[in-house]
């Protein structure tokens, strides 16, 4: 029964990810006085791409063809670790938050290799940029997550969220820092506006798009879907770690329904904030990204410090 719910939750994760992307696009269009596409446009795009014949360059090795499948499945595995509508699921008990970061690193490794595989200039450029950014973003993310895990004294996400939920409304200074750090990292890792622009193919500024420039057809669909999933994973992490109220603790139909409504509401709000930020902020120069991520790391460090200084029992 528990495994069934865990699998269902992961399927829900995969199914809802394009909807979140569509809602985000809708908010952005509304804020920029443009006519918004339908909320279900990302689904249609994915469907259209799966019907098209993928074109693969002659020089491409086997890696180029298999990479989309590896990336997509690694991202799904990462998603299965995270409590979406209920805590205490068997999948989240078997892998902790460090494994989740490991899955992301695994997917990114293959994406960077696929970018290099064809040998075009843009792919290599995108790969090198992506690795630069991720090498700076990963420590900051781990710092932010460790603040949570030190508070709950477990690296298991499900246990940590249950701990935050059970201790009620406690104002924790360290969580303020960790929240800001995680938001900054999430923006950098999912390639949103101040770091990368997801809606442009302007050659000199792109990072993620540069790596997947050679992909087409169902391969492109899988990679796009994986990046939408990654956006949703970060959104769920921020929403459920820092505002866990509403998540189901028992597996009754009513609690699960409330959990689903709560997470959809939280993600909807988060997407509104993200779209406002993306409309107000201009993309920054690539060479300033390290300052930005250094600041995120500093916030994570301060979160950990203030946990030790201000909160820990002694």
């Amino acid at each position: 029964m528990n495994w069934l719910i865990a699998i269902l939750q992961t399927l829900l994760f995969v199914a809802l990810a394009p909807l979140l992307a569509g809602w985000l696009k809708w908010c952005k269009c509304y804020l920029q006085n443009r006519k918004a596409p339908s909320l279900f446009q990302p689904y249609r795009d994915l469907l259209k791409l799966t019907h098209k014949q993928p074109v693969v360059a002659e020089q491409a090795s086997w890696l180029f063809v298999t990479a989309p499948y590896i990336i997509f499945s690694a991202t799904i595995l990462a998603a299965s670790v995270i409590p979406l509508i209920a805590v205490d699921l068997p999948t989240s008990a078997s892998a902790d938050v460090i494994v989740m970061v490991g899955f992301f690193a695994f997917a990114r490794f293959f994406l960077a290799l696929a970018g290099l595989d064809i040998g075009t200039a843009f792919g290599g450029m995108g790969s090198s940029r992506e690795m630069t950014i991720s090498s700076l973003a990963e420590p900051a993310m781990l710092m932010a997550v460790f603040t949570l895990t030190m508070t709950a004294s477990t690296t298991n996400l499900s246990g940590a969220i249950a701990h935050v939920l059970n201790s009620g409304l406690v104002l924790r200074p360290s969580f303020v820092f960790a929240l800001f750090a995680l938001i900054l990292v999430a923006v950098a890792e999912t390639g949103r506006v101040p770091v990368d622009n997801p809606s442009t193919h302007l050659e000199l500024t792109m990072i993620h798009e540069a790596m997947i420039l050679e992909y087409s057809g169902r391969h492109l669909a899988l990679i796009e879907w994986a990046s939408q999933l990654k956006l949703m994973i970060y959104g769920v992490l921020i929403a459920n770690i820092f505002f866990p109220w509403g998540i189901a603790e028992t597996f009754t139909a009513q609690a699960l329904g409330y959990g689903l409504l709560a997470i959809m509401g939280k993600l909807g709000l988060l997407a509104i904030f993200l779209s406002i930020a993306e409309t107000l902020v201009a993309k920054m120069r690539l060479f300033r990204v390290q300052e930005y991520l250094g600041f995120a790391y500093l916030l994570g460090l301060l979160g950990m410090l203030s946990h030790i200084i201000l909160e820990a029992s002694r």
Binding site: V170, R172, F177, E291, I309, E311, R314
Partner: protein, 225 residues
């Protein structure tokens, strides 16, 4: 002490302490003067709300007067004066890059650890909340000094000085549960007088070297180094 066991007032004061520390770090990393002044006003606002919170929870009405004074002086008057100065000098478009931003930030983080380490012996004699608030305010003082060392503009120096005063004020509010009214009025007027004096100082520095960059003061040497 575990934070879950403390009352809501303590949690709120600790969160305020963390946010005040954060604003000090934000000030350290700013390269634009107008944004620096804005963050300084934000720190003043946090101080105001801390004072009001202390007044409400300790049932100490004269702290409300102190909160209003802080609001008027540190959130409205001094930032307004500094902002006017920046706009008049036409410096709001200048970006002053720090020579080594990451090193400065990491230095700031180690100052925070250091101030906690220095104050750690106090934990034997007093409540842990007071220790934490004191550690944060000491680090705000040290970060203000670091701000004065790393920035070259005279206005940034003034902001650093005022944020040192903010740190002391925060310690006074949290640790003593409200000083006597005479002391607080005295401190508030000291700040006011300091602001006016800085205005005069700006005027003189501008008329003599035609810039706000204090590194240019070296050029007053008769012999070029």
């Amino acid at each position: 002490m575990n934070i879950v066991q403390t009352d809501f007032y303590t949690q709120a004061i600790l969160s305020m302490a963390a946010l005040v520390g954060l604003t000090s770090f934000l000030m350290l990393g700013q390269s634009r003067l107008l944004r620096l002044i804005f963050v300084f006003a934000l720190q003043g606002l946090l101080l105001t709300s801390t004072t009001a919170l202390a007044a409400y929870s300790l049932d100490n009405p004269h702290l409300y007067i102190s909160a209003v004074l802080t609001l008027v002086l540190k959130v409205i008057f001094i930032p307004w004066m500094l902002r006017r100065e920046v706009l008049r000098m036409n410096m709001h478009r200048d970006i002053q890059t720090l020579s080594n931003k990451t090193m400065v930030m990491m230095g700031g983080a180690s100052l925070m650890v250091f101030s906690y380490y220095v104050l750690h012996p106090i934990v034997q004699t007093t409540s842990p909340v007071m220790l934490n608030a004191l550690a944060v305010s000491l680090s705000v003082v040290l970060l203000g000094m670091l701000l004065m060392i790393t920035h070259r503009q005279a206005i940034a120096h003034v902001v650093g000085f005022m944020s040192i005063e903010n740190g002391l004020f925060f310690a006074a509010i949290v640790a003593t549960k409200g000083m006597p009214m005479v002391v607080e009025l005295g401190v508030a007027f000291d700040v006011l007088v300091a602001a006016v004096l800085f205005g005069i100082f700006f005027f003189h520095i501008r008329t003599s070297i035609d810039s706000m960059d204090v590194d240019l003061l070296n050029k007053l040497h008769e012999v070029d180094k």
